[in-house]
C-alpha cells in the first residue's frame, strides 16, 4: 500500500468528504474503498483510480449532498435589506434615544480617531528609509556602581569603530555625533548653523535623499559639509551652493552635497551634516575621545545584510560590551540594537534622543483613556437598548413565528447597532477636525512630533473601528433579544421578568459614573499639583526676573548693553537657570578621599546671590570680579555641609574640598533651596565662581508694565545681536514649562472627564425618560390616591441616586489610592490631596445626576393623571 497508485485519488476523496452528508459519508466511503481494492487487483491501479473518481462523481446526488450552507447565508444576505429598513425605522421612531446614542458615540469616537491616527502616524515613523526593518541603532544602558541603570540613545565612538572592524554580516555602519553648531559666515553674512558630524557611510545606512553630490564621498574629506535644501537656501539663496565654502569658527567648510530636508516622520532632524573626519581632527588632543565611557553625544546606526540575523549581531555586541566593561569596576555599559522603526515607540525613559520621541507608555496611557471613554458610550447604547427591548420584543416574536432563527435576530440587532455606530462615525469625523488643533497645541513636543494627517488607509481603519464598536455595543442587547421566546413574548402584554435585566443595567451605570468621577478627581488633583509646583517657595525669589540666553555673546558686553535700560535694576550671570529641569553635576571628594558625592552646581557671578535673594547662613558672597582666572572658592548649601559632616555653617567656612580637578574653599553657606524640579529631593549643591563662563543673564526688572519693558529689552537685543533671535523668558514662565506634564495631564484628563460626564449624563437622561414613561400610569394612580409631587420625585429618583452614591463610594477611594500610592508617589514635594479635590467631582456628578433625573421625574409627577388614565 506504500505505492501512491495503490490508494484512491486524494482529490476525489476530498471532494467526497466535502459534499457528502456526514451521516452517510462513512458507509459510502467504505463501500467505495472496498470496490477500489477489488478493482485494484482485477483491473490495475490506473483503472481502479479512475473508477473511484467516477464513482465519487456518481454519488453527487441530492440525497448525499450536504444542505447548502451558502443558500442559508444568501437568505441572511437578502434579509439585510429588511434589517436595514427596520433599523432605520426604529432609529427614526426613537429620536431621543438615537440622538443620545449617536451623539455619545460620536464624541467618544472622535477621541479614538485621534488615537488611531496618532498610532498609525507613530508606527509609520522612519519607514521612509529603504528596507527600514534592516536598520538599527545602538542603545546604551549605563549603570554606575549599584545605582539603577539608565537607558541612552547615544553610545561611544569606540563601539562604531569596533563594529566596523570586527562584526561581519553588516551592509554598513555609520557613526554620528551631535554638537556641530556655530555661526556660519559667507562674506559678511552671518547665519547660525547646526548639524551632526557623520561619517561617509551615513547615506549607505540611512536613506535621506542626497540630490546633489556623491553619497559615497560627500562626507569623506575633512571640512566637507552637506546642507539641507532649507539651509542651502538660507545661505545661498538662488545661487548654486556646490563647491562653495562656509566659514564656521574660523574653519572653512566646503559644500559637497545637498540633501532634501529630513521628512516630518524622521526621528532625527538636522540642518547640515559635517564629515566625521573633521570631528576627529578637532579632537586629536582629546584623550577620552575614543573612550568606552564617552557615550553621551555619539550615535551608531547600522544596516543588516540580507542573510544576517539580528540575534548574531546582538551576541557580538554583548561580547564587545563584556570585553570593554572588564576595564572598569564602577561603570557598566550594556549595548543593545534597537530597530529604527521602533524608536518613536521605544521606552520613554531613553535619554539623549536626537529628537522628541513619544514613548510607548504615553501611547498606552492615552489608548487606555480613549478606551474608557468609548466604553462609557458603548454602555449607554447597551443600557438604553436593553431598557427599550420591551418595545422590540413583539417584533422579535413575530419574526420568530414567521421563521427567523436566533442567529438571524441576533444579526438584525447587530446590524442596527453598527448602523448607529457608522452614523456616529460620520459625526465623529467632523469632531475629529475640531479637536485636532486643540490636541496638537497641548504641548510643543506633541506639535513637533505629530501632525495627525491621515492617509486614505486610515479611513478604512476608522470604519473597521466603528463596526467593531457597533458590534460590542450591540452584543448584549442582541444576545438578549434573540433569546426571547416567541410564545412568551406574544402571549403576555407586560413583558416577562427577564426584561428588566436590572442588575446588569445598574452595574453599567455604576461603572460609567465611577469612571467619570475618577476622571474629574484626577483632573482636579493634577491641577492642584500644578498650581502647587508653580507657587512653591523655592527658597529664592523669582519675581520679575527675566532670563536671557546669551547665545555665545560676551557676557560682560551684553550686560553693559542691558544696563542702559532704566527699568533693569540688576543683572546677574549664571551658567544655567536652576529649578526648571537641567542640572549639572561633578564629583566632590573630601581631603582624605574617603567621602565623595556627586554635587550639583551652577557657575555664577557676584550679583547672582543678592539678585535671587538667596539667604546666606554664614560667610560671604563671592568678591566682585568679572573674570576669575584661578577658581578657588565656592558657596554651598546646608545639605552639602551635612553630607560632608562639616559641622555648623560657621564651622564649615574655610574648609576646602576637591571639586573635580580644582580645590575649592567654602566661603559661604546658603539655605537649602530647590535647584531642581520638585520631584527630586534637595541634595548637595554648590555655587561656583566663574562669571566668564556665563551663558545666561538674569535681569531684575522694576516696572509697572512688564510687557513693554520686555519689548524694550528685546529691541535692545535686536540692535546688539542681529544674527540670533532673542531668547528670553520670565522665570515664572520657565517654571510653568518645567511643570508642563501636570498641565498637559489636567487639560487632557479634564477634557476626557468632560466627555465621559456628558456621555454618562446623556445615558442617565435616557434612563430617566424611560423610567418616567414606563411608570407614568403608576405615578398617575399614586397621584390620584394623594401622593405629593415631592414624594413622587423622591420615589423615582431614589434608585438612581443610590447608584451614584455607590459610584462615589468606589471612585473616591480608588482615585485617592491611585494618586497617593502610584502617580504622585515619586514626587518628593507634592500637594496634599484635599477634601476639596475629592468632593468637587462628587458635587458635580450629583448636581448633574439630580438635574437630569429630577427634570424627567418632575415632568412625570406634574402630568395630569386624568389624561394618562383616561384611555385604558
Amino acid at each position: 500500500m506504500k505505492n501512491k497508485n495503490n490508494i484512491p485519488p486524494r482529490w476525489a476523496d476530498r471532494f467526497l468528504e466535502w459534499y457528502c452528508k456526514p451521516q452517510l459519508l462513512e458507509d459510502l466511503q467504505g463501500d467505495l474503498y472496498e470496490h477500489f481494492e477489488r478493482h485494484l487487483s482485477s483491473k490495475g491501479a490506473r483503472k481502479a483510480r479512475w473508477l473511484y473518481a467516477l464513482n465519487t462523481l456518481r454519488f453527487f446526488k441530492p440525497y448525499t449532498v450536504k444542505k447548502l450552507n451558502f443558500l442559508n447565508q444568501l437568505t441572511q444576505f437578502i434579509m439585510f435589506k429588511n434589517y436595514f429598513k427596520t433599523s432605520i425605522r426604529s432609529i427614526a421612531r426613537n429620536k431621543l434615544f438615537s440622538a443620545i446614542n449617536i451623539f455619545g458615540l460620536a464624541v467618544s469616537m472622535s477621541v479614538c480617531l485621534i488615537m488611531i491616527t496618532m498610532f498609525v502616524e507613530v508606527k509609520n515613523y522612519d519607514r521612509f528609509h529603504h528596507e527600514a526593518e534592516k536598520i538599527f541603532r545602538i542603545n546604551n544602558t549605563h549603570s554606575y556602581l549599584e545605582s539603577d541603570p539608565s537607558l541612552f540613545a547615544s553610545t561611544s565612538i569606540l563601539v562604531g569603530k569596533r563594529m566596523k572592524e570586527e562584526v561581519p554580516g553588516l551592509k554598513a555602519i555609520t557613526i554620528m555625533s551631535r554638537g556641530f553648531n556655530g555661526d556660519g559666515l559667507i562674506g559678511d553674512k552671518r547665519i547660525p548653523i547646526s548639524g551632526f558630524w557623520a561619517d561617509e557611510d551615513f547615506f549607505n545606512v540611512l536613506s535621506f535623499e542626497l540630490y546633489r553630490g556623491d553619497p559615497a564621498t560627500a562626507l569623506k574629506a575633512p571640512y566637507s559639509i552637506v546642507l539641507t535644501e532649507e539651509t542651502a537656501n538660507k545661505f545661498f539663496g538662488e545661487a548654486d551652493p556646490m563647491g562653495k565654502t562656509i566659514t564656521v569658527a574660523e574653519h572653512e567648510y566646503q559644500v559637497t552635497g545637498l540633501v532634501k530636508n529630513p521628512p516630518f516622520n524622521s526621528h532625527m532632524d538636522f540642518q547640515s551634516l559635517v564629515s566625521f573626519s573633521t570631528f576627529e581632527i578637532e579632537n586629536e588632543d582629546n584623550r577620552g575621545f575614543l573612550s568606552w565611557q564617552n557615550m553621551w553625544s555619539n550615535y551608531v546606526y547600522f544596516r543588516l545584510d540580507d542573510q544576517t540575523d539580528i540575534a548574531d549581531i546582538e551576541n557580538r555586541l554583548n561580547a564587545i560590551a563584556a570585553d570593554e566593561n572588564s576595564e572598569s569596576k564602577q561603570v557598566n555599559i550594556q549595548l543593545a540594537a534597537q530597530p529604527i522603526t521602533k524608536i518613536m515607540l521605544g521606552p520613554s525613559n531613553t535619554s539623549n534622543q536626537l529628537g522628541p520621541s513619544i514613548g510607548r507608555e504615553v501611547i498606552w496611557v492615552f489608548a487606555g483613556l480613549a478606551f474608557v471613554v468609548i466604553l462609557s458610550a458603548g454602555f449607554n447604547y447597551t443600557n438604553l437598548s436593553i431598557a427599550r427591548s420591551l418595545r422590540r420584543a413583539k417584533e422579535v416574536g413575530v419574526r420568530k413565528v414567521v421563521g427567523a432563527q436566533r442567529k438571524q435576530v441576533f444579526t438584525q440587532f447587530i446590524v442596527e447597532a453598527c448602523l448607529i455606530s457608522l452614523a456616529s462615525l460620520i459625526m465623529a469625523y467632523f469632531i475629529f477636525f475640531l479637536i485636532r488643533p486643540m490636541f496638537l497645541n497641548l504641548n510643543p513636543e506633541i506639535q513637533s512630533t505629530l501632525r495627525l494627517e491621515h492617509e486614505p488607509i486610515v479611513l478604512v481603519y476608522f470604519i473597521a473601528f466603528a463596526l467593531l464598536v457597533g458590534f460590542f455595543a450591540g452584543f448584549l442587547p442582541s444576545l438578549f433579544l434573540s433569546k426571547l421566546k416567541a410564545i412568551q413574548v406574544l402571549k403576555s402584554a407586560s413583558g416577562p421578568k427577564a426584561f428588566s435585566k436590572i442588575n446588569l443595567r445598574k452595574a453599567l451605570i455604576v461603572i460609567q459614573f465611577t469612571l467619570s468621577l475618577m476622571f474629574i478627581i484626577s483632573a482636579s488633583i493634577s491641577h492642584r499639583q500644578f498650581k502647587y509646583a508653580l507657587n512653591f517657595n523655592l527658597g529664592f525669589d523669582t519675581e520679575n526676573v527675566l532670563n536671557i540666553d546669551l547665545q555665545n555673546n560676551d557676557p560682560q558686553l551684553t550686560k553693559a548693553m542691558f544696563e542702559q535700560i532704566p527699568e533693569v535694576t540688576d543683572i546677574a550671570k549664571s551658567s544655567h537657570i536652576l529649578s526648571i529641569g537641567s542640572r549639572w553635576a561633578n564629583q566632590v571628594k573630601s581631603d582624605d578621599g574617603l567621602d565623595s558625592a556627586s554635587v550639583y552646581y551652577s557657575s555664577i557671578d557676584h550679583r547672582y546671590i543678592p539678585l535671587m535673594k538667596h539667604r546666606l547662613l554664614a560667610g560671604s558672597n563671592f568678591p566682585e570680579k568679572n573674570s576669575v582666572e584661578v577658581e578657588e572658592s565656592m558657596i554651598v548649601n546646608e545639605q552639602f555641609i551635612k553630607h560632608f559632616k562639616l559641622g555648623s555653617p560657621e564651622e564649615a567656612i574655610g574648609e576646602s574640598l576637591k571639586f573635580g580637578r580644582e580645590r575649592l574653599t567654602i566661603v559661604g553657606v546658603v539655605e537649602n533651596f530647590h535647584y531642581a524640579t520638585l520631584d527630586s529631593e534637595i541634595e548637595c549643591f554648590a555655587f561656583r565662581h566663574k562669571p566668564q563662563e556665563a551663558r545666561m543673564l538674569s535681569l531684575k526688572i522694576s516696572s509697572n508694565d512688564l510687557l513693554s519693558t520686555r519689548k524694550k529689552i528685546e529691541e535692545a537685543w535686536a540692535g546688539f545681536d542681529e544674527v540670533h533671535d532673542f531668547k528670553g523668558y520670565f522665570y515664572k514662565d520657565g517654571l510653568e514649562r518645567a511643570y508642563e506634564q501636570f498641565s498637559v495631564t489636567y487639560t487632557l484628563v479634564g477634557f476626557l472627564a468632560f466627555l465621559t460626564i456628558c456621555i454618562a449624563s446623556l445615558g442617565l437622561l435616557g434612563m430617566g425618560v424611560y423610567t418616567a414613561e414606563t411608570r407614568l400610569k403608576e405615578i398617575s394612580i399614586r397621584k390620584v390616591l394623594g401622593a405629593t409631587e415631592g414624594s413622587l420625585i423622591t420615589l423615582l429618583s431614589r434608585g438612581f441616586m443610590l447608584l451614584l452614591l455607590l459610584a462615589t463610594a468606589i471612585a473616591v477611594p480608588a482615585t485617592y489610592y491611585l494618586f497617593d500610592e502610584l502617580i504622585l508617589a515619586d514626587q518628593a514635594n507634592r500637594a496634599n490631596i484635599g477634601l476639596l479635590e475629592l468632593s468637587l467631582g462628587v458635587i458635580i456628578i450629583f448636581g448633574i445626576g439630580f438635574l437630569t433625573i429630577g427634570s424627567q421625574t418632575w415632568k412625570a409627577a406634574r402630568s395630569n393623571p386624568a389624561l394618562t388614565l383616561r384611555n385604558e
Partner: protein, 113 residues
Amino acid sequence: MKGTNLGEFQELVLLTIGVLYPEAYGVSIKDEIRKKTGRKVTLSTVHGALNRLEKKGLVSSEFGEATSIRGGKRKRYFTITSSGVKALEETREQREELWNAIPQQALQVKLTT
C-alpha cells in the same frame, strides 16, 4: 402513496436484503443483484435505492464493526423492517391477484406467438 408503493428496482433491493440477511450492505447487495439478475447496477444506484427505502421506513440500518479493509470504515448493515415485510407481501399479493385474474387464453396466446 409514495410510502407504500414499491418501485421495481426498490423491490429487487429489498428482496436482496432479505436474501443476504444478516450480511446485507452496499457492496454485497450490488454483487448479489448482479449475480442473480445479470443487471449492471452501479454502487450509487444501490445506495440511492437504499436511502429511499430507509426514508420510507422499509429498512433499518446499523453500523457493524470496523475492519482493516475498506480504509477502516465501518459497514452499514441493512435489515428489513416489519413495514418492509408488509410492503413486500402487499406487492406479492397484488401480483398474485393479477396473475390469477389473467384468463388462460391470454397466456396461451402469449406463449404461442
